[in-house]
């Protein structure tokens, strides 16, 4: 959905993206678009696989947060 706020238009989907990135999961659509553009022969991970991959990457090594 496209909304207007203070004269600027934005896609409300960025709210979901923002919430997911706070949990360490980047945008899935951007990932698929990236693969399609740069590595068309690679089969993208499914949404579920992508989430599990990012979860492991975030907490597997460090997962640093502030006090």
């Amino acid at each position: 959905m496209i909304c207007t706020c203070f004269g600027k238009t934005f896609d409300t989907r960025i709210l979901g993206d923002a919430a997911r990135l706070m949990l360490g999961v980047p945008a899935y659509d951007a990932y698929v678009a990236h693969l399609a553009a740069r590595h068309p022969k690679l089969e993208p991970l499914s949404r579920d696989e992508f989430f599990l991959n990012r979860q492991q990457a975030r907490f597997g090594q460090s997962g640093l947060r502030c006090c």
Binding site: L21, M22, H34, R38, F50, Q55, R58, S62, R65, C67
Partner: protein, 689 residues
Amino acid sequence: MARSLPQTLIWTGVAVLGTASLAVLALDRGESVNALWLVTAALCTYAIAYRFYSLFLARNVLGLTATRPTPAMRHPDGMDYVPTNKVVLFGHHFAAIAGAGPLVGPVLAAQMGFLPGTLWILVGVVFAGAVQDFLVLSFSVRRDGRSLGDMIRGEMGPFAGTVASVGVLSIMVILLAVLGLIIVKALANSPWGTFTIFATIPIALAMGLYGRFVRPQGVLEMSAAGVALLLGAIWLGGEVAANPVSAAWFTFSAPSLALMLMGYGFLASVLPVWLVLAPRDYLSTFLKIGTICGLALGIAITLPVLHMPAITRFIDGTGPVFAGSLFPFLFITIACGSVSGFHALVASGTTPKMLQSEPQARAIGYGAMLTESFVAIMALIAASVLQPGAYFAMNAPPAAVGATVQQVSATVTGWGFAITPEALTQLAHQVGETTILARAGGAPTLAVGMAKIFSGVLGGQALMAFWYHFAILFEALFILTTIDAGTRVARFMIQDFSGAVFPAFRRTGNLGANAVATALAVGGWGFFLYQGVTDPLGGINTLWPLFGIANQMLAAIALSFCTVVLFKMKRQRVAWVAAVPTAWLGVCTLTAGAEKIFSPTPAIGFLAHAARYRTALDAGALLAPAKSIAAMRQVIANDTVDVTLTMLFMAVVITMLITGALAAWRAVREISVTAREVPDDMHLLRQNI
């Protein structure tokens, strides 16, 4: 920079308004001030600092350029390196830097009145904290998103890199101990609080299993359900605490809670991350963001009055909450809201890999830290809306004020902060607890303040106990998350260090090595936690300054690295932006460290404290809390460990300052730029695409 007349007028107006608000706060004597003045002063300061100082940093110091490729544009992979919308990335970065720190420090510092804390939060964030976050983020962006440790190795050599890593590991140990202590203080003999925290474990497990096996992509609905269950657990906790039989199941002393926390920390960090650690992190992230927004709204709606005086007599160092005079101890007590070395690690983590364009580092590095600073201001407001008498009754150790409401009220009233025993009992009753005495550590005070603010918006007196336990849960939850994650980080660092000697130790897949390294990490912070729990002065008194010293020490390291890089970029004429805060933090941490070791006052100096126990031991006497000769010896041994740790911190700071000065001097004598940035080769990149 040509500016139009209306713009000039607007900014002059903001400056006048900010100055006037600060004047109201500073000149007020004896009357209560509305929190609105504090909020206005802070917001005007932030606006001016962001508009002018951060622009100066971006243009004249860093030379950020929109056309220069960021790591995300250089090697996008859709996973780690993703060009991300500015607003989305701001949220990510803020969620990663916001924690319990900015909430606790200002609450403790309120014992000196709200004015000293406010001034340090505002001046510190504008000239030190936000500068550090912004510079480290920008430098990491120009070095392919490398971590602070890597960058220090690259620009200052392997020796400085190793010293900095030792510093990071030791700050981690003391940080986890202090955070653990805050939870233990809040939950001791509080069945309601303890029940809600215990309830987070099955909720996190359920979320973890759902997220692993049922619908991984549904992380948002899963977290929303988790938060709803948590609110239910708070309500249920009230019922559990009301029934004497079930209340007894969840009533624990501070030492047993400390041992449970260590066991939990060990398990959480060796179990698979998806089972407990990750889901708990999701819960705490949303609860944290929600509560911070709620607190801001609550303050805006209720516009509470500050009952704490602007300045109290405890600036002389005799305060009951933490010992030590305004300089240097105020500047290490409030760490996270002004300047936090920990942020340098976050700013060189995932954020630089996702930046779309260089100039956005200004909003994300500098802007997010200003927001964090505002959280600290809100915590200060929450602590100051309490009656000062109640504040001191909650935060002063029993050894100083006595253990019954009558004794405490007499002592605190004697200090000039009138409070009746009935008022203390009634306040405890209102928040659903049997007592609010001796609850040092910031969390309970903040919770009572937040409960006052929230119940002013929603629910009134009837919901005050609910809001109190909501605030306790919210703080405990993200402290536990930090303990889980921090224990894992410390474990990886221990494996990395010892791997240099025993290569088998480095294999993170090796279960035995994992268990040993985790046990070492837990043992490290567990030692200080247990020491704090059994301390007659409440532990926070001794340990919070150590944590502050460690955190500011890390900031001094990060800022001295920034100074060196500016020299190596041949920008030494503006290197003062980093050099001045480095020097200030160096002076504060070294003075505080020296006082913690050598001060003749036993409440401050570890050596004087040990000497008091040794004298008593020689005379065959026992001093509280020691009940045996062995316990007396243990107290002396603890002091020795504290002295050693403080000396280590000071040695790290001194080494880094000297290494930094030498590196800067070498850079001055070079003819050309020696900073090791990834070259600006946008034209090559375009050809590749």
